[in-house]
């Protein structure tokens, strides 16, 4: 465990430093800077250059990089370049929204996908291909609808026609009911794609386990198929499922851009797109550092969960 943690720590530092460096230079290689980003139609080049100078954007790149690393070393993430807001605060404000969406999505996905996938695997195992095909097919159709399209359809149906959920309105964790009503549709939309993947993985791994010898052993001791399915098969099939959950959690934390945009949710995805569009270097760097951390931490957590599900995994 100690060795493992040390190894992980080394990996973490390396990945994070790599990501941070990559993003620093990528952002600056992209043409356009914070000032040109905020310029609308009516500002001239000379007027903007004045602002640019004042913000230190004309310093040599390497110096800026060192400044940045220096700030990181003392956990100072700085302010947004143009609007001078403390970045850590912005992230901490946006985080609960994104995290609740991610958790909601995972929860809904797991709730639907795992029974569905298990059922599909079971029917496939028994040779009843019809239900299996129907489930797989449905999952695929859901998977393939672009989220910007499903989002709008959901809005039109659930918000406009049925009036169940609002299309706008503030989102805070202080008001859980409102929060739930606001994230319900995004969660639904995001789950659609996740359900497909997870149901597929569940199906494959459960199906594989059902063909294992120990399942036959359990049945030879007189256990019913259902009990075998849920006691033995699911537990053994858990590893790939956990991996997918870990991955999709990571993806959800950065992959909700479109959905946040359409449903007007002030989450991390909006921050990132906003940051990129306004060339807010500091914001983008911090967010990506943050992603890298989450990525590494989720990997780590996944490994720990492995340990819980499979005693053979030693860390």
């Amino acid at each position: 465990m100690l060795t493992y943690s040390l190894k992980r720590l080394a990996q973490l530092s390396f990945t994070v430093l790599g990501v941070v460096t990559l993003v620093f230079f990528t952002m600056r290689m992209i043409p356009g800077d914070p000032i040109s980003a905020m310029a609308g139609d009516n500002l001239s080049g000379a007027a903007l250059d004045q602002v640019r100078n004042q913000m230190g954007l004309n310093e040599p790149l390497l110096l800026q990089y060192l400044h940045y690393l220096g700030g990181l070393a003392v956990l100072d993430f700085g302010n947004t370049v143009t609007t001078k807001l403390p970045i850590i605060q912005l992230i901490l404000d946006a985080l609960p929204v994104t995290v609740s969406i991610a958790i909601g999505t995972i929860a809904l996905t797991v709730l639907i996908a795992i029974p569905l996938g298990t059922l599909a695997a079971y029917t496939a195992h028994k040779g009843h291909k019809m239900l299996d095909n129907a489930i797989t097919g449905l999952a695929m159709v859901l998977d393939l609808m672009p989220s910007f399209w499903t989002s709008l359809v959901c809005l039109l149906i659930f918000s406009l026609a049925l009036g169940w959920f609002p299309a706008s309105g503030t989102v805070t964790i202080d008001d859980p009911v409102q929060l739930l009503r606001r994230i319900a549709l995004p969660v639904l939309v995001l789950s659609m794609a996740q359900i497909a993947t997870m149901a597929r993985i569940t199906r494959t791994s459960v199906l594989e386990v059902l063909n294992e010898d120990y399942v036959r052993t359990a049945r030879s001791m007189g256990w019913s198929e259902l009990r075998v399915l849920f006691r033995h098969a699911l537990k053994n099939a858990a590893l790939p499922i956990v991996t997918v959950i870990g991955l999709s959690f990571g993806n959800l934390l950065n992959g909700t851009v479109i959905v946040e945009f359409i449903f007007t949710l002030p989450g991390i995805g909006s921050l990132l797109v906003g940051g990129i569009n306004s060339r807010d270097y500091q914001m983008v760097q911090t967010l990506i550092l943050f992603y890298a951390l989450i990525f590494v931490i989720i990997n780590f957590a996944t490994d720990l969960v492995y340990r819980v599900f499979d005693p053979r995994v030693q860390i």
Partner: protein, 664 residues
């Protein structure tokens, strides 16, 4: 018939009748390519306490038949007809729910692979205790005590602690014991064991067999024991059923079957086993051809294509089981089966002619190979496996060296070192010319994307020998040498049977005319009948080409049959070394003695006469070898001296060597 140890059941209504009556059982696999008729009308009876062995080659439907009894077949298998009367109730007509009351409770099951038959993520207790609670209606505490009791009886040391272990924390032998404990824990009246020892080492196998024998005798359970090892049958069974192509072709008491087999298939099967006590070596009998495709409709006798005594009648009519003696039935039109044809002496193998100037082609001196793990923390000593721990050997031109020993003793490592696949840790290896290899697993030996031509020609291409035309000629020559038609050159490995693959492997190994061919368990993945073909082939080749072979196996019978010299390995060391016959007939080292004692002989009479005292004690971990004799922990003769002082290999009576302080 009643057997010693059988317990009278209280079930009065069933008294007198057989415990299990199987009548005309049919099992099909409904695959996409057609229906596989895996079991095709099998009928037999088992009495209480009776042990029946079912033998037959791979694919003959043994497992399908056994699994049909409890309807444990996986999709697409289905029992399509027949009666399975257990104590008068037809299992085949029971609902799943009713059947679940029978499974585990009245019929226990033991599967082949102990590594995969236990749920890897559940503790032993969680797998054993709930069925006991359920079937014997005990509370958790009592059930647990019961389970611990069973673990104790199957010889798991420290069962109170080990019951909470996970399967991966146990060795294969231990896991198989757990399986047995589990299968017997609800005191079933019938135990079905599907090749319960095939995956185990000989010494462990002997222990498990004894255990099964004792425990079933003790509880009075009857047993169906599936195997393809005829030696085990002789050691174990009361009755034998021989299956071929989904049917029982012969059924009867074990002694009758061995002494007087009536079906040509049974006869051929018995003849494929290397004889133990004949002074002169003869070629093994072999069964030509392949078993029939069970998807195709079958008329007549299924064995007729491979039967030397087949006549027209066999093609049109299907012989039924007919009586040949008390309780002995066979399904053949001929009363004697092959009869005279069987007794035609197979060709004798002339002994190896030694020339004084025969060169030594392989010489190994004080060879060591240690595998060192990686330790991330610099202050920790990395774990080291001493896989090969100082062995010295030599092989002359045309000579075959057999290496035997239990799993993990370093046989394969020696082979890899000889081939230069791994670097040695220390010691010297001298190989004249090149060494080539034949691998155990025929399916992973070949690149599935290459044709046989490319496979056999590869060594030639890589070493840059010959023009294209010469290579083609050589490949064809090799194919003929190993008995394959040259048209096979265009085939892919997946289009070959296991035996054919091993022939190709041998052809490839011979391509560059190596001085020595190392064969690491070349026959252990093959069926008995095919095994005989490969062994015959190797015997022929070594004589004709005067190639030296290193033949590695844990099958002592085969090794002693094919080898000129034998080296017995134990934990990375050679403990006995000498001419094959002598080592086999008169083992010096206690380990060799135990090994030979553990080999089941295909002769029930001889088996009964043997004293069977399987090895006890634990194999020390190769990570942490004891200072003295490595075998001391299991040796019946070990003394304090053995534990402290390591014996070295010493010469005895000229040609023999052994590493034991107490060799007389």
């Amino acid at each position: 018939m009643n057997y010693p140890g059988a317990i009278k059941t209280e079930n009065a209504s069933a008294a007198g009748a057989a415990l299990l009556q199987v009548r005309d059982l049919h099992t099909h696999f409904l695959t996409d390519d057609g229906t596989v008729k895996a079991v095709n009308g099998v009928s037999f009876d088992i009495d209480r306490g009776e042990r029946i062995a079912i033998v037959g080659e791979s694919g003959s439907g043994k497992s399908a038949m056994a699994m049909s009894l409890l309807r444990l077949l996986a999709y697409p298998g289905r029992v399509v007809g027949g009666e399975i009367n257990l104590n008068g109730r037809d299992l085949n007509r029971m609902s799943e729910r009713q059947l679940n009351q029978v499974r585990g409770r009245e019929v226990g099951t033991i599967f082949q692979d102990p590594m995969s038959s236990l749920d890897p993520v559940m503790r032993i207790a969680d797998q054993m205790v709930p069925p006991i609670m359920r079937h014997l209606e005990m509370n958790a505490e009592k059930a647990r005590a019961e389970a611990i009791g069973w673990l104790d009886r199957v010889g798991i040391p420290d069962p109170t602690r080990r019951i909470d272990a996970y399967p991966f924390e146990m060795s294969g032998g231990m896991r198989q014991r757990v399986m047995i404990a589990m299968a017997l824990s609800c005191r079933p009246r019938l135990v079905i064991a599907d090749e319960p020892t095939t995956a185990l080492d000989v010494t462990i196998q002997a222990q498990i067999v004894e255990l099964l024998k004792d425990l079933t005798a003790e509880t009075g359970a009857a047993m169906i024991f599936i195997t393809h090892d005829l030696g085990l049958v002789a050691r174990f069974a009361h009755k034998v059923g021989v299956m071929y192509a989904g049917k029982l072709v012969e059924f009867g008491p074990v002694r009758d079957i061995f002494a007087h087999p009536c079906h040509p298939y049974t006869q051929s099967l018995l003849d494929t086993i290397p004889p133990v006590d004949e002074p002169q070596r003869r070629k093994l009998a072999q069964i030509p051809g392949f078993p029939p495709d069970m998807k195709l409709p079958l008329t007549g006798c299924a064995f007729r294509d491979r039967c030397a005594a087949a006549h027209e009648h066999c093609a049109s009519d299907t012989p039924g089981l007919s009586p040949r003696g008390p309780g002995h039935r066979a399904a053949c039109f001929l009363p004697e089966g092959l009869g005279e044809a069987r007794r035609q002496q197979t060709e004798a193998i002339p002994p190896l002619v030694r020339n004084a100037d025969d060169r030594v082609v392989v010489e190994v001196f004080n060879l060591h190979k240690h595998f060192t793990g990686r330790s991330l923390l610099p202050w920790r000593v990395p774990p080291t496996v001493r896989a090969v721990n100082g062995i010295s050997l030599n092989i002359r031109e045309g000579e075959t060296l057999g290496i035997v020993g239990e799993s993990g003793c370093g046989k394969s490592t020696v082979a890899r070192l000889l081939l230069g696949l791994d670097p040695v840790t220390s010691g010297d290896i001298y190989v004249e010319g090149m060494a080539q290899m034949v691998f155990q697993d025929p399916s992973s030996s070949f690149n599935p994307k290459m044709t046989l031509f490319d496979i056999i020609a590869e060594p030639l291409v890589v070493t840059g020998r010959g023009s294209r035309a010469e290579r083609t000629a050589r490949v064809h020559e090799l194919l003929e040498q190993v008995g394959l038609d040259t048209s096979y050159a265009a085939r892919y490995p997946s289009q070959l049977s296991g035996g054919q693959k091993q022939r190709v492997a041998i052809a490839r190994a011979l391509a560059i005319k190596p001085s020595v061919v190392v064969a690491d368990e070349p026959t252990s993945a093959l069926d008995v009948s095919v095994r005989a073909q490969i062994i015959n082939l190797m015997v022929d080749l070594k004589r004709q080409l005067r190639v030296s072979f290193v033949f590695i196996s844990h099958d002592l019978l085969t090794v002693s049959y094919i080898s000129d010299k034998i080296a017995v390995m134990y934990l990375g060391e050679v403990v006995e070394y000498g001419p094959a016959d002598e080592v086999f007939r008169n083992p010096l080292h206690p380990y060799t003695q135990a090994l030979i004692a553990a080999v089941p002989l295909p002769d029930p009479v001889a088996e009964e006469a043997r004293i069977k005292k399987p090895l006890s004690g634990e194999l020390p971990s190769p990570l942490d070898l004891p200072p003295g004799c490595a075998f001391a922990s299991r040796c019946p003769r070990a003394t304090e001296f053995c534990r402290a002082e390591k014996p070295v290999l010493q010469a005895y009576s000229g040609s023999r060597e052994a590493a034991c302080h107490y060799v007389d």
